[in-house]
Subunit: 633 residues, 2 copies
């Protein structure tokens, strides 16, 4: 029998793969979790799907590609060019390199901003503004012998001292640097994390896990009162897919992987997790678990709690993990839910087994114009009731519709702009939609082609019952494409005295309209009371649907020229907005989490007994408050 | 304008309803949770959907309708009549009053049992065998002033001293009564429970919540070492639907309601929860929450964790509840998951807001015959992969297929039996299926008629790829109808030296066949080793499908004639079976829970740190172990 060498190596590869998977399933917890094992990190020399270099979006030195005082990549920003046109620089996005003709006018009109009134950022980070590190010599000594990379570099430390709350970025732009980590460490694998945690417990060092740095809850802010050495545990280099299990449709992944890498790598094998939070370019798997993240396409793929099959977290008491990867269990309270949402207060998530799905055969965008927001919400509610929501369905209010228009790139042909004009005429004059009331829903369908077309028909039929007009794939696609560039806009605004933030809630269906109306009005009222000189932007979007309610996302921004303490004003207005949300039956957060920003409402959110439970878990797991970011409690 | 009185009262009714719902939403927790409020129970005089008498399936005196030493209603049982035919007595079930011609032969053949060898139960409960109650006079004194009904009656106490584990029923049949509660109390509402818990804490009384009494984890067994007064908190009278919220599709329900009442009452308004555990005639909402229950149609309606929107639980530290009914939140670890699965160790669940759905327009049963179990499993796995599972899909092995046949009631016409014979010929001779290898899947589809027919086609097409033959609606319907009578069979078996139990697990897809084969073989081997004289029944069923695995349900029964300690033999075999399950990657339990029966495996299931977390919550919530059923930890 002639040997089929490719067949043989295929069989060998499959056999090795099965062996790796079964080993992974069977691997018990190491008995010696409390001893420092000077073992080689499993990464070196072991066969995995991803080589070290291949998988890395984010280098150890984040400053090589990321901004120090704003969102995202250094090579990408909005700016007004010499001709006074808005432009999106760089090459990474579909919008990159394009002129956005209507943006300037919208910006100036909406905020009363002007090219004359500039509020530029400090050009570079002044390392002198960074406190010298508080060193824990004993910790450092032992750390060195582990071979785990570390740094005391001021820039490395500043990069990991913050998330993306307004006040954090504003301070950086002013060159102000508060309490920052004293050290950064880069574990390469679970075992490295075990060593770091053991050393931290031994030497009473404060650990703050750092994933993608995209927290918008002040979760990453270093507590100013922390006198111990603060070590930022940067998981970005711990980012491999350890195995893909095609029989059970799961993948076992190191928690430092960022969303775009996870999807890209899985795609190479024909799979995806389908978890696509707006932050997915930079946010990490461990961060999603710690904050109970939600993704754009949760209608198909689920939120993080639906995606997670198995979690490993390293705590001061040892490693916590279930012994079984069964799909659903009744073995007491679900300990995964003690881990999810713990926001870095209990340990470091190191490895996660997640569900994967075959990549969808077909994708189709769509959009619907509604005469007004109320009809749009009623439509979304009906879609939810019939349990036929597409992969994603989002309804923006009239202000966001206009905002979306302002972000249209320069059209390449007269024909396209003629078409646009035709559509506008049809919608407004012919169908009688009031341009100051109409709103738009964007849709994304995924699945088998036939099913998608059927599904699409069902949804558009429902939309028609609520006065909705199908408005084409382009508008839908553009809406979703803008998702990843919106965050860059704030940095543009901050160049011209405009500050702002997004915040979100989840709310029962019967309170959606109240919340949208009341919170937007409250924002406007509070701004006025606090002396804001210009009308704020106060807008909302229904961004997820559920059986019993929806997720509502607010944007709030204003021109702060003339205010002596703009961040303080901002914070007061945000606080009032959250009070308004809670008073209208909305939750403290749908997916951003609590961090330090929303701690004050935790007790009323979970009740005294709930707080006591959370505190008792914290006191047991981490009695010395090694994981001392002071989030949640 | 003529007044439309019915319109007016309609508006009034709707307005009152909205007011009730909003009041329910807004009702804060009472500040004075720590003081005994001598307030009238909200039930009296308040308007609700259900009058006290109307809603009650289960009276305070359970003995009026339920067996004292077996499953279910007193008026219903299997027996062999004078002609030696198997019969199902009573009038409550479709099978009631019918002869089951093939059952006797199957029973005798399968177990080597015989009508000559009887092992009858003690005919009545001997109250003398019940220890006099340990009274806590101070507690009793204060309890009397609350007006909450209570009892020291021996029979009342015995009824609440057990669930339905084999050893519990076996002991009762022998007239043996161990530690039983010293008192039974029947709270009528949440406030009553608050009073009871406060008094218990004050006077150090042990409380054991009692819902439907259907625990199969020894969860209800009173710990023999408990020297304090044990009070059974029977929630069966706390069973109203407090409001239905049609806008958000939720219902707020008292936790003592049993499944059949909940569905029946919701049906009157055109709704359902769709939660249909096999125990639903008797099990309670509070019990589902406490044990993480799963229902037959979870593919549409979800398991209990998907159904619960809001929970209220009374603990020694006070009432725990979230402030918001938002659909999904990120506010730290989800405290609902500290409550779900707590199995009566932390408090009493009193009120739950659940999702409801409009009743399905259309239901259709179905069945598929597969040449063998492997093909059947592969089909179910493919259905799960395509995410097109019906409301329910269950695959029984060959032994259960034969068992199912033995349970066929006497056919009413020659034509039906002729058809049956034709089908049998077609399947076995014509299609070549081996009757000793073939197995059957039963299906239930629900939804809009057109969608159901489409869905049905998709599933049968998949089944065909795995050699599956559609075998008609009747077989499907009968399979599901038998669900509620199966539990009565054990009592019949126990009349003739046959004892048995069901147990379950959840397991990743790639281990399903291993687990089924290995566990069944292990059971048979262990029985042989332990001296069981007859071949045991060792059979399994894949009873739920998930993305990453399945729920597998085992039946195990044997003829214990000739054994001196049959229950001990049974327990050893069950224990070995669970070890085999765990060794094959299965979980400790999919939905039955841990109770006291499976405590020994908890530590390895959730890890040391997981155990520590659970213990720390227990120590905080209930430092005096008032909720002292000793489950889980």
């Amino acid at each position: 029998m002639a040997s089929n060498s490719s067949g043989g190596s295929d069989r060998q590869r499959v056999a090795q793969q099965r062996l790796r998977i079964i080993t992974g399933h069977l691997q018990g917890r190491e008995e010696g979790d409390s001893t420092i094992i000077a073992a080689e990190c499993k990464a070196e020399g072991s066969q995995t799907y991803v080589s070290r270099e291949e998988g890395k979006t984010v280098p150890r030195r984040r400053q090589e590609i990321m901004k120090w005082n704003g969102w995202g990549y250094s090579d990408t920003k909005f700016l007004f060019n010499k001709k006074g046109q808005a432009e999106f620089t760089g090459k990474r996005y579909r919008l990159s390199g394009m002129i956005i003709p209507a943006l300037k006018e919208w910006f100036e009109g909406t905020f009363g901003a002007s090219m004359q009134h500039k509020s530029p950022a400090a050009p570079v980070l002044n390392s002198g503004a960074v406190q010298p590190p508080t060193l824990n010599e004993a910790f450092l000594e032992e750390l060195k012998s582990t071979g785990i990379p570390f740094s005391h570099d001021a820039e490395d430390r500043v990069y990991r001292a913050h998330g993306h709350c307004l006040h954090e970025i504003f301070a950086l732009r002013e060159g102000k640097v508060g309490r920052v980590p004293d050290m950064v460490v880069w574990p390469n694998c679970h075992d490295d994390v075990v060593k770091i945690v053991e050393l931290a417990c031994k030497h009473d060092v404060c650990l703050i896990p750092y994933g993608g740095g995209t927290s918008v809850s002040s979760g990453l802010e270093c507590p100013t009162e922390e006198t111990r050495c603060i070590v930022s545990v940067d998981t970005s280099q711990m980012n491999r897919i350890l195995w893909i299990d095609e029989k059970n449709l799961t993948a076992h992944v190191e928690a430092g992987i960022v969303g775009q890498d996870l999807e890209r790598l899985l795609n190479e094998s024909g799979y995806c997790t389908g978890h696509e939070p707006d932050s997915m370019e930079f946010s990490s798997l461990g961060g999603w678990v710690a904050t109970r993240a939600s993704g754009m396409k949760k209608n198909i793929y689920g939120n993080i709690e639906d995606l997670v099959v198995h979690v490993k977290m390293v705590t001061p008491q040892g490693v916590i993990e279930k012994s079984c990867r069964g799909p659903r269990m009744s073995t007491g309270p679900d300990i995964h839910h003690f881990i999810m949402g713990s926001e870095g207060t209990l340990g470091v998530v190191t490895e996660v087994t997640m569900k994967i799905r075959p990549m969808p055969e077909y994708q189709k965008y769509g959009s619907v114009v509604f005469p007004n927001f109320e009809q749009g919400v009623a439509c979304l509610r009906e879609v939810a009731k019939q349990r036929c929501a597409p992969a994603s369905i989002r309804l923006m209010d009239n202000e966001q519709f206009k905002f979306g228009h302002a972000l249209k790139p320069q059209v390449s042909s007269m024909f396209t702009s003629f078409l646009d004009g035709l559509k506008k005429f049809y919608v407004t004059k012919f169908k009688g939609f009031d341009p100051d009331r109409l709103c738009v829903a964007t849709l994304l369908f995924e699945g088998g082609r036939e099913k998608v077309l059927q599904h699409e028909k069902q949804v558009y039929d429902i939309a028609a019952k609520f006065g909705g007009l199908a408005a084409g794939e382009d508008n839908g696609q553009r809406g979703y494409m803008l998702t990843f560039v919106i965050a860059y806009l704030r940095d543009l605004g901050m160049e011209y005295y405009v500050i702002g933030e997004s915040f979100e809630t989840s709310v029962p269906w019967d309170r959606v309209l109240d919340i949208c109306r009341n919170v937007k009005a409250r924002i406007i009222g509070e701004c006025k009371n606090k002396g804001v000189q210009f009308q704020p932007l106060s807008t909302c979007r229904v961004t997820q649907t559920y059986d019993t309610g929806a997720c509502v996302y607010f944007y709030f921004a204003f021109n702060y020229r003339g205010l002596s303490d703009p961040v303080h004003v901002y914070e007061q207005v945000e606080r009032a907005a959250r009070e308004e949300i809670l008073a209208n039956g909305g939750s403290l957060s749908h997916h951003h989490g609590v961090g330090k920003l929303r701690k004050e409402w935790m007790r009323e959110t979970v009740s005294n007994v709930g707080m006591g439970m959370l505190q008792s878990v914290k006191d047991y797991v981490d009695p010395k408050n090694i994981f001392g970011n002071r989030n949640l409690l």
